[in-house]
């Protein structure tokens, strides 16, 4: 028995999982048209590598990863690419993103699939393969899985997340019940890539059938994995909290699980890794729960890019349905339209009606009752964060660890004043991020401006120098012409002197500026101030460096003035 640990707070919302676990997973029929976004993962969007009008095969690469954190996008079925354009996607902004439209030809013809033997592959090769196959975390964050395997330090524990703590969602539950063997094989691949010994599979105790199925599969495989039943408590499926419950280790704030020797994958990700390695199939479909206000709530194996409207139609939405939520009711996003496509991160779509999810009463002022603090799994003080966020006091909000908030929504769930706390936090977070970017842009602008000032100054100096040279040449010529045997007055000395004086003056000026800009009294400064001053110094040094470089090749960059 593994000794379990606990975390602060958490809530017990009604799970509503029974509804969608009555019938097995079925494959959704091929839709009339698929819309495949090029950004389905955390990080940079993939770059399209197909042309409009091109025929693609199932599993063919249509978007290749760009940059470090990125992933591949594949054609979910065979057919013709009819458009690559901005289309609405499942995002709270309702803003469009680049998508490929694929009209299936009905053949569902696979491209080349190359099964591999993972035992013969190094971690590096496996990572490359997973990146090629577009494997990303299927729990919701969609972080590229290959990145999670490339770790700088030793990982000694692999945690597999089958907690599925959010109400309504059952896709992992059903996947574990029906495809436990594949999941276990996938776990073994991930374990091999990480080189760990200990594997803990955490499943919440409201999924007894999934636990039994997984235990059976583990026993059959004779791998020394441990299936651990964890108490049902939202948000126990948050990676950091599951790790705490299973191992007792707290992932430090702002750090990754690997920093404490643990890595965490979702069960569905493990299954996808198994398909990718042992069947050579890239990630083109996933299991998704369709539930809520529908006649037949259940799970579907659906192609990526399937419009949600098709899935909802299969389950038959009840007439009073007026909106749709992607993900669970605690952390999901309301769909801007029901015809947006399914993406890799979509684990669930809930048809919602006012009867099922009554709109919250109008928010009242916060009375600082701290019920939110009692349920916060990160032990934050949500009432303070709210106070600062609502008064736009972002600095204070950050000081109170706003960025450690996991947006689980437990605080808003219990708030007696019905304040949309999470939205306030999201607002504050995105404002702070935007401000950071602005600040960086301002710093860049300052640097460029300072360099420009420096360049202009130098050009002036050069001009003066050339002028002096000309004068000197003229003087010399004059001297030579005037008398051959003349008084031993050296005119060059004079000119040299003036020039030297000019240079000296410039140097003195520069020194003066430097002295003026360097504060002498740097004793009793706060660390922030010191950091700021250091940053300024670093910038200054950088400018000097640039200047030195530019001086070396004697050609200012973007030299364009007609001087």
């Amino acid at each position: 028995m593994t000794r379990l640990h606990s975390f602060h707070g958490g809530i017990h919302p009604l799970t509503h999982k029974k509804e969608s676990t009555q019938s097995p997973i079925i494959s959704a029929p091929l839709p009339a048209q698929l819309i495949v976004p090029f950004r389905q993962h955390a990080g940079d969007a993939a770059k399209p590598v197909v042309q409009v009008g091109e025929r693609v095969l199932k599993g063919q690469l249509i978007g290749e990863p760009v940059g470090m954190i990125s992933s591949s996008i594949h054609a979910p079925t065979s057919g013709t690419i009819t458009a690559i354009e901005l289309q609405q996607i499942a995002h709270p902004s309702a803003l469009p993103d680049l998508c490929a439209t694929l009209v299936p030809d009905g053949l569902d013809e696979w491209g080349v699939r190359q099964p591999l033997n993972y035992r013969q592959l190094s971690s590096d090769e496996l990572q490359k393969h997973l990146r090629r196959c577009g494997i990303v975390g299927l729990g919701g964050a969609a972080f590229p899985s290959d990145m999670k395997l490339s770790h700088p330090v030793v990982v000694d524990t692999l945690v597999i997340n089958g907690a599925e703590c959010e109400p309504y969602i059952t896709c992992d539950d059903m996947l574990m019940r029906e495809r436990a063997e594949g999941i276990v094989r996938g776990i073994e691949i991930l374990r091999h890539a990480l080189g760990t010994d200990s594997v803990l599979i955490g499943i919440e105790d409201n999924k007894p059938q999934a636990i039994a199925a997984m235990q059976r599969a583990v026993d059959d495989s004779s791998h020394p994995f441990k299936v651990v039943t964890v108490p049902t408590l939202y948000p126990g499926g948050s990676a950091k909290h599951l790790i705490k419950v299973l191992t007792g280790v707290e992932v430090p704030s702002g750090k990754l699980p690997t920093d404490v020797g643990v890595q965490c994958f979702n069960v569905a990700t493990a299954y996808a890794a198994h398909r990718a390695v042992e069947h050579g199939e890239p990630l083109v479909s996933r299991v998704v729960t369709v539930t809520g206000n529908v006649e037949q709530p259940r799970n579907y194996e659906a192609l990526i890019g399937t419009p949600f409207s098709d899935l909802v139609a299969l389950s038959v939405a009840k007439p009073d349905t007026n909106r749709y939520i992607m993900g669970g009711p605690m952390m999901g996003v309301e769909l801007p339209a029901v015809n947006v496509p399914l993406v890799k991160a979509s684990n669930c779509v809930i048809a919602a009606s006012d009867a099922l999810f009554p709109p919250p009463p109008a928010p009242m002022p916060c009375i600082r009752c701290t019920r939110c603090a009692q349920v916060c799994p990160v032990e934050l003080q949500p009432q303070d964060l709210f106070w600062f966020a609502q008064s736009h006091n972002f600095g204070k909000a950050q000081e109170f660890d706003l960025f450690d908030c996991i947006e689980c929504g437990a605080c808003a769930y219990v708030c007696p004043s019905s304040i949309p706390l999470v939205q306030y936090y999201r607002y504050a977070k995105s404002e702070i991020r935007a401000r950071d970017l602005e600040k960086r842009a301002a710093d860049l602008a300052r640097e460029r401006h300072e360099f420009r000032q420096f360049r202009i100054e130098r050009e002036k100096q050069e001009k003066a120098e050339r002028l002096a040279q000309k004068e000197r040449a003229a003087a010399e010529a004059k001297a030579a012409a005037a008398t051959v045997i003349a008084t031993p007055v050296d005119p060059t000395a004079d000119a040299d002197d003036t020039q030297q004086m000019r240079i000296d003056a410039a140097l003195a000026r520069a020194k003066e500026q430097a002295a003026a800009a360097t504060p002498k009294n740097t004793e009793a400064l706060t660390p922030e101030q010191r950091a700021e001053i250091e940053a300024i110094e670093a910038r200054r040094a950088h400018i000097h460096e640039l200047a030195a470089d530019a001086g070396a090749d004697d050609e200012p960059p973007k030299h364009s003035q007609g001087n």
Partner: protein, 191 residues
């Protein structure tokens, strides 16, 4: 010993210079927007007040005596002004940002009625040197205490939905009044 302690407690709480004697309101309202600033202001005032009450005792006792009592106010102001000037230089050197933040209020410590008030009260109460020092220190600590408490409340009030006409100084005045009300609870504690 107990007497000294009572003087200290009495001046900090019961006869708080700001809340009960209503002296030194100018910096109390002016530099209490931020906690750190108010703490620094409190520290600067504590320094000035302690030095001023000590040296003004010396001036009064040894230099002026009963014959030249009419010079008390004049000479105290000179002493205080010099102390403040000195403090200003030290602050400017050691913490330029604080210097900027305290701004006009730093030289204005000179005209802070609490700073002149305490030495004069010392003379009136016929305190000896130690008592004068403690009276000054206690008064200054009381000043710092209410400054810091007030600043804490004002920082929190930043986010409050205060009616537009009361925002800023108005609500700060109301708060100061209510604080003064609370300090009346101490009355009678130390005679």
């Amino acid at each position: 010993m107990t007497d000294y302690l009572l003087i200290l407690i009495g001046t900090v709480f019961v006869n708080n210079i700001v809340m009960v004697k209503i002296l030194g309101l100018c910096p109390f309202m002016g530099v209490s927007k931020k906690l750190e600033t108010s703490l620094s202001m409190g520290a600067a005032t504590t320094f000035v007040l302690t030095i001023a009450s000590g040296s003004s005792y010396l001036v009064n006792h040894y230099l002026l005596g009963p014959d030249l009592a009419y010079l008390t106010t004049l000479s105290f102001i000179v002493v205080i002004a010099a102390t403040v000037q000195f403090t200003e230089m030290v602050v400017k050197k050691t913490s330029p940002v604080l210097y900027q933040v305290l701004g006009i209020y730093l030289p204005l410590i000179t005209t802070n009625c609490a700073v002149l008030g305490i030495p004069l009260l010392n003379v009136q109460a016929k305190h000896n040197f130690i008592e004068s020092l403690l009276f000054g220190l206690g008064g200054a600590l009381g000043f710092t205490l209410v400054m810091v408490l007030f600043a804490g409340m004002r920082e929190r009030l930043e986010g409050a939905d205060v009616p537009a006409v009361f925002r800023g100084t108005a609500i700060a005045m109301v708060t100061a009044g209510l604080m003064s009300l609370a300090f009346m609870g101490f009355s009678g504690l130390v005679k």
